[in-house]
Symmetry: C2
Subunit: 415 residues, 2 copies
């Protein structure tokens, strides 16, 4: 690949070709054991079979009295029956004996149903007094008893590999006695942030200095996509320092922000080509056309433009799906979608993909900006974005378009 | 409120009454300063006005040459012009001098545009050789120059209070030089988990022991809702220990799991009534009817049923919206919604709200379970849930219903 510094891109790759290139080469990482308290949101790496049933014993589904159901037949408010209370079964403190004819054992929800009993009378239909129980309703055998394995039988496949674990999945795994859960390893991400003009987030930018704000945004996005950020520092625009940072082998993905275009001090593209391969540099899209994609060893390297909207857009198109794939997740866009009509047309160009920031007002989609890669506030004012595919020269007023939201919901959605 | 132990609930409150009770009493907490690197996802507690413009100087939007645009008029491939290169402006290392007539300064994207220049020629249309620049295209004045304040003007209100901060919002705040961001304080949650039968998550349940799995689920849900979990331990069913735990003043919300129904050792309801007020106990819903809501001092206390589906459902109806309100968020359900027709009818009862777990197959909603409060695996097999409001006795086959998803998307949704 020729050195593009101060010459510009001879030609730009299609977004779809870059996406295909990544889809063919990026696969889920290996697995690791994760403590059950941390597994929610992680991707399960193996099917889970129940090593024991849940519950592990017949348990009461009610607070009341464990009885032989047949003993209660005929009981009513008008013709109450009497049983003898011979003990109690509490959760964790079962009744050791057996329930005989016309006997009852006081029992709490979740406690083991004692031998001999086959049903639980609800507390509401009895009155206990000095060891004698007045029963004012009948209960059928098996009623109010949760049988061993009613939730999960031993050997059942409870959860399948590839699942993003829900809160309740984590609870089920804990119930089964799992201490650790096999999950797909989280992809490790190295930032290579370069720029003599940059000061770290939290500092005040004086004169011609600017704040390294891209890493602030990227760390949130990669967290959303299941990535794990390695420690990093802002590097000066010096080739040797950037070479060192690109060479670190602990990362699965390298995100280069700044110094990645065609400027004279944009060392990163040349270094990626030297150390590995620079597979794409220059992509037919707006914004983000100076984006690059390469590989160094097993690492995928993304050259993200320094302009913040370009950085966001390039991350979303290429780095985000890569992180999700590595983590065993669906590469699909993670944003909620709304299908709504355009308030006015969007102009684009055939052969180029556009990332159009849009507002939504009164159920209509209002295009705000396609260009203006440096105007990050456009992504703050927008509700989300519309992607114009390369085969279209635009989208017409009134056309229903897919808006991907930056937030979970629109502000005026109430349910 | 009478002691319901071993007697059952005399009457059950309407879900809507409990919701209204909470809506009237629960308001956003105070604010705290959050480091800008941690502010994404938090709720902004004050409007943010820009203390300085972004950018803070006129900057180049291209790699190329800063020039006086008028000097390039007439330049073309066939009639190139020549300018003298007098220096360079790099990001963080501006050119100190001034650009005069027929002069140019080599400039990188993001670098300050030197005095005298009013446009930037793209690198692609020039060739530099020994201090002389061949210019093959004209550039209009102001072209490729990002003016001071083009992204954000000084004094602009950039972000408004109440906003859930996006990745790009955090980047904007960093760009403005904010080190700390005023955010609504996260509600602090105390778990009061009681049960002699419980072993901690990660341990193996032997005999009649069961794993405290509700806290595994609840910690994930409260994290989703912006809550912060205080340290806790599993308590024995002893009134004094539970009283101590309920009394701790560091929490904003107390979630009691276990020992909260009408069993003989269900101490929590009586203690809440003693220490504060037990405003509701017993709610007309399925599952979760033994749910309680009360207050101790400034703390809102939720008595969550021990059965795991009831625990999940009671959390979602009452505790979740409370945490979101305290954290300054919308109380609305956080689940993505799909409107789809029912494959078969759902039966309910007028006067009761049902939380029906459903699967979704071929675009149809299949009710799986309404009862079975102990069958947590029903929430693992389900795609989400449908709520049947109290005024309906069910929903008909073919009727379009709102399904709230447990996951971000359905597995077969591709875009």
């Amino acid at each position: 690949m020729r050195d593009v510094r101060m010459r510009g891109f001879a030609e730009r790759a299609d977004v779809e070709d870059v996406e295909r290139f990544l889809a063919e080469r990026v696969h889920a990482l290996g697995d690791e054991l994760v403590p059950v308290l941390s597994c929610a949101g992680r991707v399960l790496a193996a099917n889970i079979e129940a090593p024991r049933p849940v519950p592990n014993f017949d348990r009461s589904a009610m607070d009341g009295y464990a009885v032989r159901g047949a003993d209660t037949f005929g009981a009513s408010d008008y013709a109450p029956l009497r049983l003898e209370v011979i003990g109690e079964s509490m959760p964790g403190r079962p009744f050791a004996g057996e329930v005989g004819p016309r006997q009852a054992v006081r029992i709490m929800t979740g406690a083991p149903v004692p031998r001999g009993a086959d049903a639980v009378l609800m507390a509401e239909v009895c009155s206990e007094n000095a060891g004698s129980l007045e029963v004012r309703d009948a209960v059928a055998p098996h009623k109010n008893v949760g049988t061993r394995g009613e939730d999960i039988r031993e050997g059942d496949t409870v959860l399948h590999r590839g699942r993003v674990l829900r809160a309740q999945d984590a609870a089920i795994l804990a119930s089964l006695g799992c201490a650790e859960v096999p999950c797909v390893r989280r992809p490790r991400v190295r930032f290579v942030i370069t720029g003599d003009e940059l000061v770290a987030a939290g500092e005040t930018p004086e004169g011609s200095r600017i704040v390294d704000s891209n890493s602030v945004m990227l760390r949130v996005l990669l967290e959303r996509d299941g990535g794990e950020l390695l420690p990093y520092e802002i590097l000066p625009d010096r080739e040797e320092r950037i070479r060192q940072a690109l060479g670190g082998e602990d990362a699965d993905v390298v995100l280069v922000s700044g110094g990645s275009s065609v400027g004279r001090e944009d060392f990163a593209p040349g270094l990626v080509a030297q150390l590995g391969s620079l597979d794409f540099h220059g992509i037919a899209m707006r914004p983000s056309s100076p984006t690059g994609v390469g590989r160094i060893g097993e690492r995928i390297v993304f050259l993200l433009p320094g302009n913040p909207v370009s950085c966001l857009c390039a991350y979303e198109f290429f780095a985000g799906p890569t992180l999700r794939r590595l983590g065993g997740r669906s590469p699909r866009w993670p944003h909620p979608v709304r299908n709504l009509p355009l308030a006015r047309k969007i102009s684009s160009a055939i052969g180029r993909v556009d990332y159009v920031r849009v507002a939504i007002e009164h159920g209509l989609v209002i295009p705000l900006a396609t260009s203006g890669a440096s105007i990050l506030s456009s992504t703050v004012r927008s509700a989300g974005f519309v992607i114009v595919p390369r085969e279209l020269e635009g989208m017409a007023e009134g056309e229903k378009v897919e808006v991907r939201l930056y937030d979970a919901f629109l502000p005026d959605e109430t349910s």
